[in-house]
Symmetry: C2
Subunit: 210 residues, 2 copies
Protein backbone atom coordinates (compact mmCIF):
# COMPACT_ATOMS: atom_id res chain seq x y z
CA UNK A 1 0.00 0.00 0.00
CA UNK A 2 2.71 2.56 0.82
CA UNK A 3 4.36 1.60 -2.47
CA UNK A 4 1.01 1.91 -4.26
CA UNK A 5 0.32 5.30 -2.74
CA UNK A 6 3.83 6.53 -3.60
CA UNK A 7 3.17 5.46 -7.22
CA UNK A 8 -0.07 7.44 -7.30
CA UNK A 9 1.70 10.48 -5.84
CA UNK A 10 4.43 10.24 -8.50
CA UNK A 11 1.80 9.80 -11.25
CA UNK A 12 -0.12 12.84 -10.06
CA UNK A 13 3.06 14.87 -9.86
CA UNK A 14 3.83 13.90 -13.49
CA UNK A 15 0.22 14.60 -14.49
CA UNK A 16 0.33 18.07 -12.91
CA UNK A 17 3.59 18.89 -14.66
CA UNK A 18 2.18 17.63 -17.97
CA UNK A 19 -0.88 19.86 -17.59
CA UNK A 20 1.35 22.82 -16.84
CA UNK A 21 3.52 22.03 -19.86
CA UNK A 22 0.50 21.73 -22.18
CA UNK A 23 -0.89 25.03 -20.89
CA UNK A 24 2.47 26.78 -21.37
CA UNK A 25 2.84 25.48 -24.93
CA UNK A 26 -0.74 26.51 -25.70
CA UNK A 27 -0.14 29.98 -24.25
CA UNK A 28 2.99 30.29 -26.37
CA UNK A 29 1.13 29.22 -29.50
CA UNK A 30 -1.67 31.72 -28.88
CA UNK A 31 0.68 34.65 -28.29
CA UNK A 32 2.78 33.66 -31.34
CA UNK A 33 -0.28 33.43 -33.60
CA UNK A 34 -1.50 36.86 -32.47
CA UNK A 35 1.96 38.44 -32.72
CA UNK A 36 2.33 37.12 -36.29
CA UNK A 37 -0.49 39.50 -37.30
CA UNK A 38 1.12 42.47 -35.54
CA UNK A 39 3.45 44.75 -37.52
CA UNK A 40 6.64 43.31 -36.05
CA UNK A 41 9.82 43.19 -38.11
CA UNK A 42 8.85 46.22 -40.21
CA UNK A 43 12.41 47.57 -40.43
CA UNK A 44 14.60 47.76 -43.55
CA UNK A 45 15.20 44.57 -45.54
CA UNK A 46 18.26 44.43 -47.75
CA UNK A 47 19.62 42.25 -50.54
CA UNK A 48 23.32 42.18 -51.39
CA UNK A 49 24.04 43.76 -48.01
CA UNK A 50 22.91 47.35 -48.68
CA UNK A 51 20.26 47.33 -51.43
CA UNK A 52 16.92 48.24 -49.83
CA UNK A 53 13.99 45.96 -50.68
CA UNK A 54 10.96 48.09 -51.64
CA UNK A 55 8.34 47.64 -48.86
CA UNK A 56 5.13 46.37 -50.47
CA UNK A 57 2.82 47.51 -47.70
CA UNK A 58 4.05 51.04 -46.98
CA UNK A 59 0.67 52.53 -47.91
CA UNK A 60 -0.72 50.97 -44.71
CA UNK A 61 2.09 52.56 -42.65
CA UNK A 62 1.52 55.75 -40.64
CA UNK A 63 1.31 58.85 -42.86
CA UNK A 64 3.34 61.84 -41.69
CA UNK A 65 2.48 64.67 -44.05
CA UNK A 66 1.75 65.82 -47.55
CA UNK A 67 3.07 68.70 -49.63
CA UNK A 68 2.19 70.30 -52.95
CA UNK A 69 5.05 71.62 -55.09
CA UNK A 70 7.47 70.71 -52.30
CA UNK A 71 10.41 69.75 -54.50
CA UNK A 72 14.09 69.55 -53.65
CA UNK A 73 14.72 72.75 -55.61
CA UNK A 74 14.73 76.22 -54.11
CA UNK A 75 12.11 77.34 -56.61
CA UNK A 76 9.45 75.46 -58.52
CA UNK A 77 11.12 74.34 -61.76
CA UNK A 78 8.60 75.33 -64.40
CA UNK A 79 5.52 77.38 -63.40
CA UNK A 80 3.64 75.85 -66.36
CA UNK A 81 4.02 72.31 -64.98
CA UNK A 82 1.31 71.33 -62.46
CA UNK A 83 2.89 70.98 -59.02
CA UNK A 84 3.33 67.44 -57.67
CA UNK A 85 1.99 66.10 -54.38
CA UNK A 86 4.46 64.44 -52.01
CA UNK A 87 3.44 61.95 -49.27
CA UNK A 88 5.66 60.62 -46.50
CA UNK A 89 5.08 57.32 -44.62
CA UNK A 90 7.13 55.64 -41.87
CA UNK A 91 7.33 52.05 -40.60
CA UNK A 92 4.99 51.51 -37.59
CA UNK A 93 7.68 50.57 -35.03
CA UNK A 94 9.71 53.72 -35.78
CA UNK A 95 6.51 55.81 -35.60
CA UNK A 96 5.70 54.45 -32.12
CA UNK A 97 9.29 55.06 -30.99
CA UNK A 98 9.19 58.69 -32.22
CA UNK A 99 5.93 59.33 -30.34
CA UNK A 100 7.70 58.20 -27.15
CA UNK A 101 11.09 59.88 -27.61
CA UNK A 102 10.95 62.53 -30.37
CA UNK A 103 13.87 60.78 -32.08
CA UNK A 104 14.21 58.04 -34.68
CA UNK A 105 15.41 54.52 -33.76
CA UNK A 106 17.91 52.60 -35.85
CA UNK A 107 15.83 50.79 -38.47
CA UNK A 108 13.61 53.78 -39.31
CA UNK A 109 12.34 53.62 -42.91
CA UNK A 110 10.79 56.78 -44.39
CA UNK A 111 9.07 56.40 -47.76
CA UNK A 112 8.55 59.48 -49.94
CA UNK A 113 6.18 59.21 -52.87
CA UNK A 114 5.47 61.85 -55.50
CA UNK A 115 2.08 61.85 -57.21
CA UNK A 116 0.54 63.87 -60.00
CA UNK A 117 -1.88 66.53 -58.84
CA UNK A 118 -5.22 66.69 -60.61
CA UNK A 119 -8.08 69.17 -60.61
CA UNK A 120 -11.40 69.97 -62.28
CA UNK A 121 -13.60 67.27 -60.70
CA UNK A 122 -16.94 68.04 -59.09
CA UNK A 123 -18.08 69.01 -56.50
CA UNK A 124 -15.04 71.31 -56.18
CA UNK A 125 -13.54 72.22 -59.51
CA UNK A 126 -10.59 74.34 -58.39
CA UNK A 127 -8.96 72.27 -55.62
CA UNK A 128 -6.22 69.77 -56.32
CA UNK A 129 -6.17 66.07 -55.42
CA UNK A 130 -3.74 63.17 -55.80
CA UNK A 131 -3.33 61.10 -58.95
CA UNK A 132 -0.92 58.40 -60.03
CA UNK A 133 2.44 57.69 -58.48
CA UNK A 134 5.39 59.21 -60.36
CA UNK A 135 8.40 58.55 -58.10
CA UNK A 136 9.23 56.55 -54.95
CA UNK A 137 12.23 57.23 -52.70
CA UNK A 138 13.37 56.18 -49.23
CA UNK A 139 15.53 57.37 -46.36
CA UNK A 140 16.74 54.82 -43.80
CA UNK A 141 18.44 55.20 -40.43
CA UNK A 142 21.15 52.55 -40.36
CA UNK A 143 24.37 52.97 -38.37
CA UNK A 144 26.36 51.15 -41.08
CA UNK A 145 26.12 54.17 -43.42
CA UNK A 146 28.17 57.42 -43.11
CA UNK A 147 26.34 59.73 -40.71
CA UNK A 148 23.91 56.91 -39.88
CA UNK A 149 21.45 57.56 -42.70
CA UNK A 150 21.16 56.27 -46.28
CA UNK A 151 19.10 57.40 -49.29
CA UNK A 152 17.50 55.26 -51.99
CA UNK A 153 15.43 55.82 -55.12
CA UNK A 154 13.17 53.10 -56.50
CA UNK A 155 12.33 55.17 -59.58
CA UNK A 156 9.10 55.47 -61.56
CA UNK A 157 6.23 53.02 -62.10
CA UNK A 158 6.95 50.81 -65.09
CA UNK A 159 10.67 50.90 -64.30
CA UNK A 160 10.50 50.60 -60.53
CA UNK A 161 13.25 48.68 -58.74
CA UNK A 162 12.33 45.84 -56.36
CA UNK A 163 15.55 46.65 -54.47
CA UNK A 164 17.49 49.89 -54.74
CA UNK A 165 21.19 50.40 -53.99
CA UNK A 166 22.05 53.33 -51.72
CA UNK A 167 22.65 56.62 -53.51
CA UNK A 168 26.40 57.26 -53.51
CA UNK A 169 29.10 59.60 -54.76
CA UNK A 170 28.44 63.30 -55.25
CA UNK A 171 24.68 62.72 -55.33
CA UNK A 172 24.54 61.48 -51.76
CA UNK A 173 26.68 64.42 -50.67
CA UNK A 174 23.85 66.70 -51.82
CA UNK A 175 21.27 64.51 -49.97
CA UNK A 176 23.33 64.71 -46.79
CA UNK A 177 23.97 68.46 -47.06
CA UNK A 178 20.26 69.31 -47.52
CA UNK A 179 19.13 66.77 -44.89
CA UNK A 180 21.63 68.27 -42.44
CA UNK A 181 21.12 72.01 -43.03
CA UNK A 182 17.35 72.23 -43.57
CA UNK A 183 15.86 69.52 -41.34
CA UNK A 184 14.10 70.11 -38.01
CA UNK A 185 14.92 66.78 -36.30
CA UNK A 186 18.04 64.70 -37.01
CA UNK A 187 18.16 64.33 -40.81
CA UNK A 188 14.37 64.43 -41.32
CA UNK A 189 11.99 67.20 -42.38
CA UNK A 190 9.81 66.99 -39.28
CA UNK A 191 8.81 70.63 -39.89
CA UNK A 192 6.55 69.19 -42.62
CA UNK A 193 5.01 66.49 -40.34
CA UNK A 194 2.69 68.50 -38.08
CA UNK A 195 1.78 65.80 -35.53
CA UNK A 196 5.43 64.77 -35.09
CA UNK A 197 6.58 68.40 -34.85
CA UNK A 198 4.34 68.73 -31.76
CA UNK A 199 5.97 65.62 -30.26
CA UNK A 200 9.49 66.85 -31.02
CA UNK A 201 8.75 70.26 -29.50
CA UNK A 202 7.40 68.59 -26.35
CA UNK A 203 10.46 66.32 -26.14
CA UNK A 204 12.95 69.11 -26.91
CA UNK A 205 14.44 67.32 -29.92
CA UNK A 206 13.90 70.09 -32.49
CA UNK A 207 17.11 71.71 -33.75
CA UNK A 208 17.62 75.40 -32.90
CA UNK A 209 15.98 77.65 -35.49
CA UNK A 210 12.78 75.62 -35.92
CA UNK B 1 -0.33 6.33 7.44
CA UNK B 2 -3.08 5.59 4.88
CA UNK B 3 -4.83 8.75 6.06
CA UNK B 4 -1.59 10.66 5.79
CA UNK B 5 -0.93 9.34 2.27
CA UNK B 6 -4.50 10.15 1.18
CA UNK B 7 -3.92 13.69 2.45
CA UNK B 8 -0.75 13.96 0.35
CA UNK B 9 -2.57 12.68 -2.74
CA UNK B 10 -5.39 15.19 -2.26
CA UNK B 11 -2.86 17.99 -1.70
CA UNK B 12 -0.99 17.04 -4.88
CA UNK B 13 -4.23 16.87 -6.84
CA UNK B 14 -5.09 20.37 -5.64
CA UNK B 15 -1.56 21.51 -6.36
CA UNK B 16 -1.72 20.13 -9.94
CA UNK B 17 -5.07 21.82 -10.57
CA UNK B 18 -3.73 25.07 -9.12
CA UNK B 19 -0.73 24.93 -11.49
CA UNK B 20 -3.03 24.34 -14.43
CA UNK B 21 -5.29 27.20 -13.35
CA UNK B 22 -2.35 29.59 -12.95
CA UNK B 23 -0.99 28.60 -16.36
CA UNK B 24 -4.38 29.08 -18.03
CA UNK B 25 -4.86 32.51 -16.41
CA UNK B 26 -1.32 33.47 -17.45
CA UNK B 27 -1.96 32.26 -21.02
CA UNK B 28 -5.17 34.29 -21.11
CA UNK B 29 -3.36 37.38 -19.81
CA UNK B 30 -0.61 37.02 -22.44
CA UNK B 31 -3.03 36.62 -25.34
CA UNK B 32 -5.15 39.53 -24.04
CA UNK B 33 -2.09 41.81 -23.69
CA UNK B 34 -0.95 40.97 -27.21
CA UNK B 35 -4.42 41.35 -28.70
CA UNK B 36 -4.77 44.77 -27.10
CA UNK B 37 -1.94 45.98 -29.38
CA UNK B 38 -3.44 44.44 -32.53
CA UNK B 39 -5.81 46.50 -34.66
CA UNK B 40 -8.87 44.41 -33.78
CA UNK B 41 -12.16 46.13 -32.92
CA UNK B 42 -11.25 49.32 -34.78
CA UNK B 43 -14.84 50.00 -35.88
CA UNK B 44 -17.08 52.84 -34.69
CA UNK B 45 -17.64 53.28 -30.94
CA UNK B 46 -20.72 55.14 -29.83
CA UNK B 47 -22.07 56.72 -26.67
CA UNK B 48 -25.79 57.37 -26.19
CA UNK B 49 -26.48 54.97 -29.03
CA UNK B 50 -25.46 57.11 -32.01
CA UNK B 51 -22.84 59.66 -30.88
CA UNK B 52 -19.52 58.67 -32.45
CA UNK B 53 -16.54 58.57 -30.06
CA UNK B 54 -13.58 60.41 -31.63
CA UNK B 55 -10.89 57.77 -32.43
CA UNK B 56 -7.68 58.78 -30.66
CA UNK B 57 -5.35 56.79 -32.90
CA UNK B 58 -6.67 57.61 -36.37
CA UNK B 59 -3.33 59.17 -37.38
CA UNK B 60 -1.86 55.65 -37.34
CA UNK B 61 -4.68 54.39 -39.61
CA UNK B 62 -4.15 53.91 -43.35
CA UNK B 63 -4.04 57.23 -45.23
CA UNK B 64 -6.14 57.37 -48.41
CA UNK B 65 -5.39 60.72 -50.01
CA UNK B 66 -4.74 64.40 -49.58
CA UNK B 67 -6.16 67.47 -51.29
CA UNK B 68 -5.39 71.18 -51.37
CA UNK B 69 -8.31 73.58 -51.62
CA UNK B 70 -10.65 70.62 -51.93
CA UNK B 71 -13.59 72.12 -50.07
CA UNK B 72 -17.28 71.17 -50.19
CA UNK B 73 -17.98 74.29 -52.25
CA UNK B 74 -18.05 74.39 -56.02
CA UNK B 75 -15.49 77.19 -56.04
CA UNK B 76 -12.81 78.21 -53.58
CA UNK B 77 -14.50 80.58 -51.14
CA UNK B 78 -12.07 83.50 -51.01
CA UNK B 79 -9.02 83.52 -53.33
CA UNK B 80 -7.16 85.62 -50.74
CA UNK B 81 -7.44 82.86 -48.12
CA UNK B 82 -4.66 80.24 -48.30
CA UNK B 83 -6.20 76.93 -49.42
CA UNK B 84 -6.53 74.21 -46.76
CA UNK B 85 -5.10 70.70 -46.95
CA UNK B 86 -7.48 67.79 -46.41
CA UNK B 87 -6.36 64.29 -45.33
CA UNK B 88 -8.51 61.15 -45.23
CA UNK B 89 -7.82 58.09 -43.04
CA UNK B 90 -9.77 54.84 -42.65
CA UNK B 91 -9.85 52.16 -39.93
CA UNK B 92 -7.46 49.27 -40.75
CA UNK B 93 -10.07 46.48 -40.93
CA UNK B 94 -12.19 48.44 -43.44
CA UNK B 95 -9.05 49.24 -45.46
CA UNK B 96 -8.15 45.54 -45.69
CA UNK B 97 -11.72 44.66 -46.68
CA UNK B 98 -11.73 47.31 -49.45
CA UNK B 99 -8.46 45.96 -50.88
CA UNK B 100 -10.15 42.56 -51.16
CA UNK B 101 -13.57 43.58 -52.44
CA UNK B 102 -13.56 47.20 -53.69
CA UNK B 103 -16.46 47.93 -51.34
CA UNK B 104 -16.78 49.14 -47.75
CA UNK B 105 -17.89 46.80 -44.94
CA UNK B 106 -20.39 47.81 -42.28
CA UNK B 107 -18.29 49.48 -39.57
CA UNK B 108 -16.16 51.56 -41.96
CA UNK B 109 -14.95 54.79 -40.31
CA UNK B 110 -13.51 57.50 -42.58
CA UNK B 111 -11.82 60.43 -40.83
CA UNK B 112 -11.42 63.73 -42.71
CA UNK B 113 -9.10 66.32 -41.27
CA UNK B 114 -8.49 69.83 -42.57
CA UNK B 115 -5.11 71.48 -41.90
CA UNK B 116 -3.69 74.92 -42.58
CA UNK B 117 -1.31 75.02 -45.54
CA UNK B 118 2.00 76.78 -44.98
CA UNK B 119 4.79 77.91 -47.28
CA UNK B 120 8.07 79.82 -47.37
CA UNK B 121 10.35 77.30 -45.62
CA UNK B 122 13.70 76.28 -47.06
CA UNK B 123 14.84 74.38 -49.05
CA UNK B 124 11.76 74.97 -51.22
CA UNK B 125 10.17 78.35 -50.61
CA UNK B 126 7.18 78.13 -52.95
CA UNK B 127 5.68 74.70 -52.20
CA UNK B 128 2.98 74.22 -49.58
CA UNK B 129 3.05 71.84 -46.60
CA UNK B 130 0.68 70.90 -43.79
CA UNK B 131 0.27 72.85 -40.56
CA UNK B 132 -2.09 72.67 -37.63
CA UNK B 133 -5.40 70.86 -37.58
CA UNK B 134 -8.42 73.13 -38.13
CA UNK B 135 -11.38 70.73 -38.42
CA UNK B 136 -12.11 67.01 -37.93
CA UNK B 137 -15.08 65.17 -39.45
CA UNK B 138 -16.15 61.56 -39.96
CA UNK B 139 -18.30 59.41 -42.21
CA UNK B 140 -19.40 55.98 -40.95
CA UNK B 141 -21.05 53.05 -42.69
CA UNK B 142 -23.69 51.79 -40.29
CA UNK B 143 -26.87 50.07 -41.43
CA UNK B 144 -28.86 51.72 -38.63
CA UNK B 145 -28.75 55.12 -40.38
CA UNK B 146 -30.87 56.16 -43.43
CA UNK B 147 -29.07 54.98 -46.56
CA UNK B 148 -26.54 53.12 -44.38
CA UNK B 149 -24.13 56.02 -43.84
CA UNK B 150 -23.87 58.72 -41.16
CA UNK B 151 -21.91 61.99 -40.95
CA UNK B 152 -20.30 63.58 -37.88
CA UNK B 153 -18.30 66.70 -37.11
CA UNK B 154 -16.00 66.86 -34.09
CA UNK B 155 -15.26 70.54 -34.70
CA UNK B 156 -12.08 72.54 -34.18
CA UNK B 157 -9.15 72.08 -31.76
CA UNK B 158 -9.87 73.84 -28.50
CA UNK B 159 -13.58 73.07 -28.83
CA UNK B 160 -13.34 69.53 -30.14
CA UNK B 161 -16.00 67.03 -29.13
CA UNK B 162 -14.98 63.70 -27.57
CA UNK B 163 -18.17 62.25 -29.06
CA UNK B 164 -20.21 63.81 -31.86
CA UNK B 165 -23.91 63.24 -32.57
CA UNK B 166 -24.80 62.40 -36.18
CA UNK B 167 -25.51 65.39 -38.40
CA UNK B 168 -29.25 65.56 -38.92
CA UNK B 169 -32.07 67.60 -40.48
CA UNK B 170 -31.47 69.64 -43.64
CA UNK B 171 -27.72 69.56 -43.14
CA UNK B 172 -27.48 65.79 -43.52
CA UNK B 173 -29.68 65.99 -46.62
CA UNK B 174 -26.92 68.06 -48.25
CA UNK B 175 -24.27 65.53 -47.09
CA UNK B 176 -26.27 62.66 -48.57
CA UNK B 177 -26.99 64.49 -51.84
CA UNK B 178 -23.34 65.35 -52.49
CA UNK B 179 -22.08 61.93 -51.30
CA UNK B 180 -24.58 60.28 -53.67
CA UNK B 181 -24.17 62.40 -56.81
CA UNK B 182 -20.43 63.08 -56.83
CA UNK B 183 -18.83 59.95 -55.35
CA UNK B 184 -17.04 57.24 -57.31
CA UNK B 185 -17.73 54.27 -55.00
CA UNK B 186 -20.80 53.95 -52.75
CA UNK B 187 -20.98 57.24 -50.81
CA UNK B 188 -17.23 57.84 -50.74
CA UNK B 189 -14.93 60.03 -52.85
CA UNK B 190 -12.69 57.18 -54.01
CA UNK B 191 -11.78 59.30 -57.07
CA UNK B 192 -9.54 61.24 -54.64
CA UNK B 193 -7.89 58.07 -53.18
CA UNK B 194 -5.59 56.92 -56.00
CA UNK B 195 -4.57 53.51 -54.63
CA UNK B 196 -8.19 52.58 -53.82
CA UNK B 197 -9.41 53.85 -57.20
CA UNK B 198 -7.14 51.26 -58.84
CA UNK B 199 -8.66 48.54 -56.62
CA UNK B 200 -12.22 49.66 -57.36
CA UNK B 201 -11.53 49.72 -61.11
CA UNK B 202 -10.08 46.20 -60.94
CA UNK B 203 -13.09 44.98 -58.92
CA UNK B 204 -15.67 46.78 -61.08
CA UNK B 205 -17.15 48.72 -58.17
CA UNK B 206 -16.73 52.23 -59.61
CA UNK B 207 -19.99 53.96 -60.52
CA UNK B 208 -20.60 54.73 -64.20
CA UNK B 209 -19.05 58.07 -65.17
CA UNK B 210 -15.81 57.68 -63.20
Amino acid sequence: MPYHETGRVAMMRRSGLLCLLVALVWAGAVSHAVLAQAPAGDGPRYVNGTSLVRPEDYRAWPFLGSGLGLTYDAETAAPSTPPAFSNVFVNPSAYRAFLQTGTWPDGTVLLLEFRRSLTGTRPNTTGRFQGELTLLEAEVKDARFPGGWAYFTFGRPGAMLDAAPPIGGEEVERCIECHTEHTAVERTFVQFYPTLLEVARARGTVKPGF
